[in-house]
């Protein structure tokens, strides 16, 4: 339906919507994150949920203590190579539809600890990330901004057709291979199906 017509009808007290819009409106306003923190970014994440910043305004106040009940995993902090398989396993245990926010420089790329011997160079090497937040650590406003970006993404997801959401395509996996602890590091070092680094523009 055309937006102009919809606006015109609304002026006359006729509210129109589609099943897709209604469905996404419901989903985007009750995204339950997983109770899961890794480092200093987790402190900012906790502050975001508290009264001053109040993530509850966006319907995300219910942090679930089980991945089986969570819709969103906020990777908040440095992912060590020792921890990385557990993070992937937690993601695998979440039911669809599920979303990932990579919070802070460490979760994006390893950040200031990138060259450390036990630091994973970004969680997007193993699981698909929906929103990246830069910062070290990002302020609660940045997390709220990322959360609103995720809400816009959910609201725009299509339920049918070729461009439908990731979780509705039968060919896209909902679980990803868990990396193994090898003798010198993680094996494999990345999942090429997931990892999509920015290309250098020359």
């Amino acid at each position: 339906m055309e937006q102009d017509l919809k606006a015109e009808l609304q002026k006359h007290g006729v509210f129109t919507t589609t099943f897709e819009e209604l469905y996404n409106w419901g989903r985007k306003n009750s995204v339950w994150p997983l109770t899961f923190g890794l480092a200093c970014c987790a402190i900012e994440m906790i502050a975001t949920t508290m009264a001053r910043y109040d993530l509850a305004r966006f319907g995300a106040e219910v942090f679930r203590a089980s991945p089986r009940q969570a819709d969103l995993i906020i990777v908040s902090g440095t992912v060590t190579k020792k921890m990385a398989p557990q993070v992937v396993r937690l993601y695998n245990q979440m039911p669809e539809p599920k979303y990932v926010i990579a919070m802070g420089a460490c979760a994006i790329s390893g950040g200031p600890f990138r060259d450390g011997y036990n630091v994973l160079k970004g969680i997007d090497r193993y699981i698909p990330v929906d929103v990246h937040i830069p910062g070290c650590p990002p302020r609660p406003e940045a997390l709220i901004d990322a959360f609103m970006a995720l809400q816009r993404k959910i609201a725009g997801q299509q339920l049918t057709g070729g461009a439908r959401a990731r979780h509705l395509k039968p060919e896209t996996p909902s679980e990803y291979p868990v990396p193994e602890h090898g003798e010198h590091g993680l094996e494999p070092t990345l999942n090429a199906e997931v990892w999509n680094p920015l290309r250098v523009i020359q």
Partner: protein, 203 residues
């Protein structure tokens, strides 16, 4: 007590124990005691029970990796040059073999004094890396010795639970050693080693 006094007391109390006072050129100038590894446990018990020291608290254990070093000293030598005795300078080179070291920082809560710094050295840094664990003397050394075992590869004999602390079981390297090379990983567009880096370099 000065480190020299402590040294002579340890050597007098434990027959066969050799202690070396290692000077510290840095500003605090805290000299440390390098105890030979065969008598380190006895010396530790001695320091803990000595009525004048009562070192009842081990605040910190650190690992050090010393690579093979070459020290060149300038020495003045008298030489016969064309039948005439002359003073000449010669550089002498001496090699210090590489080794691993555990450094214990000891305090006395009872006496409100410290620190006394104890060093225990391994024979080399490849296959003879055993030194006695001082966890039986100071319980607080347990996790720190595990961390040193993990990151430097010093094997503490007599440790109650010697497992890796930070890295996983099955990891074979010791990342804090100076010759540690991390495994190659594709670092993204900036990394010329990886597939993506090559693609970016080719345009």
């Amino acid at each position: 007590m000065t480190p020299e006094q402590i040294r002579s007391e340890i050597e007098a109390a434990i027959p066969g124990c050799s202690v070396e006072v290692a000077p510290n050129g840095a500003v605090p100038g805290q000299a440390s005691l390098a105890v030979d590894r065969l008598h380190a446990l006895e010396a530790a018990w001695f320091l803990r029970r000595h009525p004048g020291l009562l070192l009842d608290f081990c605040s910190n254990v650190a690992g050090v990796d010393w690579l093979d070093r070459e020290i060149s000293e300038k020495v003045k030598v008298r030489k016969l040059v064309d039948g005439v005795e002359q003073e000449a300078e010669e550089t002498r080179k001496s090699k210090i073999p590489g080794r691993l070291e555990a450094v214990y920082h000891l305090f006395s809560i009872e006496k409100k004094q410290g620190p006394v710094i104890l060093r225990v050295r391994t024979e080399n840094r490849s296959d003879r890396v055993e030194i006695p664990s001082l966890t039986p003397v100071w319980r607080s050394a347990e996790f720190q010795e595990r961390e040193i075992f993990d990151l430097y590869g010093i094997v503490f004999t007599g440790h109650p639970d010697l497992r890796r602390l930070l890295m996983w079981e099955g990891f074979t390297d010791h990342p804090m050693r100076k010759d540690y090379v991390p495994p190659p990983e594709d670092d993204g567009p900036q990394d010329p080693r990886g597939a993506v880096g090559k693609e970016a370099a080719a345009g």
